[in-house]
Symmetry: C2
Subunit: 232 residues, 2 copies
């Protein structure tokens, strides 16, 4: 059982939120913060925040709260952001380009070192100072720069092939924007950032839930299709 220390995904997803709040507080030169204040800023409960942090150690001071700079350093080390993480982006379409620009300018802990695409029309173009390279250049760069994390924003049909190539060359974590389920070997992590799904599931909540559900109920009274149903 190698995972005695297995900490849940939900906890890990909250850490970057705490980090961002701490960054903000430090910019304002706030020295101490309580779990209550972190709760106000993050929307998570104070109890949950204390519990999350306690998985990794006792970082606070009873009666006083958490030292912002100290806690920030701890969280940075926990997530693994203590050295700027090098990343590459596959797919330099609209989304890939936006993601590259976004991370180059807004994400202080991440560095995009290369962007790849297979479209001859855009290879050679630059996104800020980064040139778009053909995908066959990726293996060498992944290996030489020891890249462990990549973003995939290629069309759905190409995504699995790109993931295979990435993993073969050493990628351990993929942020996948393509609308497909990627198969990866044990030990490789995929997070899906599927904007269509986010948006569609949100639409469910844009009208009264009860009303919607009772409409469904009514609808269900209509007869079901037989096994050989095709279209009326």
């Amino acid at each position: 059982m190698p995972n005695r220390n297995n900490i849940s995904k939900s906890v890990i997803k909250r850490l970057p939120v705490y980090l961002r709040i701490l960054d903000k507080l430090i910019r304002r030169e706030v020295e101490m913060v309580s779990s209550k204040e972190l709760s106000n800023e993050s929307g998570f409960t104070a109890e949950q925040i204390r519990k999350d942090l306690a998985y990794f150690g006792a970082f606070g001071t009873r009666g006083a709260g958490y030292n912002t700079m100290f806690l920030r350093e701890k969280i940075i080390k926990i997530i693994g952001l203590d050295s700027r993480t090098d990343t590459i982006v596959f797919g330099a379409g609209n989304l890939g380009t936006a993601l590259t620009r976004y991370n180059l300018t807004k994400n202080p802990y991440v560095n995009v070192v290369a962007v790849f695409d297979n479209d001859p029309k855009i290879i050679g173009r630059k996104i800020h100072s980064i040139e778009i390279l053909p995908i066959n250049r990726a293996p060498k760069i992944i290996q030489e720069r020891d890249i462990k994390v990549c973003l995939i924003s290629v069309p759905a049909a190409a995504a699995q092939g790109i993931a295979d190539l990435a993993v073969e060359n050493g990628i351990k974590a993929i942020l996948n924007f393509a609308p497909v389920k990627l198969s990866v070997p044990e030990g490789v992590h995929v997070h899906n950032a599927d904007l269509t799904i986010e948006l569609q599931s949100l639409i469910y909540y844009s009208s009264a839930e009860e009303e919607r559900l009772s409409r469904i109920e009514k609808d269900n009274k209509d007869k079901k299709p037989s096994k050989s149903f095709t279209h009326e």
Copy 2:
């Protein structure tokens, strides 16, 4: 207790995944699909899929599976995608532009009807056939077209103001890309699509977890700062 029918967020988030798979199967003219097959395509377990669907009705045929066209229609009605949903986008920077293009071309159930920004340099530009409008034009459009869903991809500092404006004029659901927690009144739903957080939390998994955690443990042996700690 008005929420006798309260179905969990996790269930709702899986429905668009089923929908997408059904769309694909129907394109291939597959007529029936089992929960087992849906499981293979989606990565969720067959039991979970059957249970998710059963919240809304008995859509399958024992021994045979689900009729793809019938189930698609049901899911579309459940989510509320039966009439194309009109949406607007606030913020026409890199991300906002990419999101607009993406939804215009790739999301068959959603229609972007307007994009707003406050930067005079980009107002009047077009994204496909959609002109970027100043934000003060938004209230009228939201009301007249009865828009219930919007995307927010403006800078963090502006996001709460935009959310307030949107909600005041009738928006019920917000897909928020800005790195802040938005405060909205009861009954308005916010989904956060925070790319920085996705990427940072993924970095946690890009190196061996155990190793990382034992490093933290060691690190914790070093002394904590006193209450008045600022910087060495």
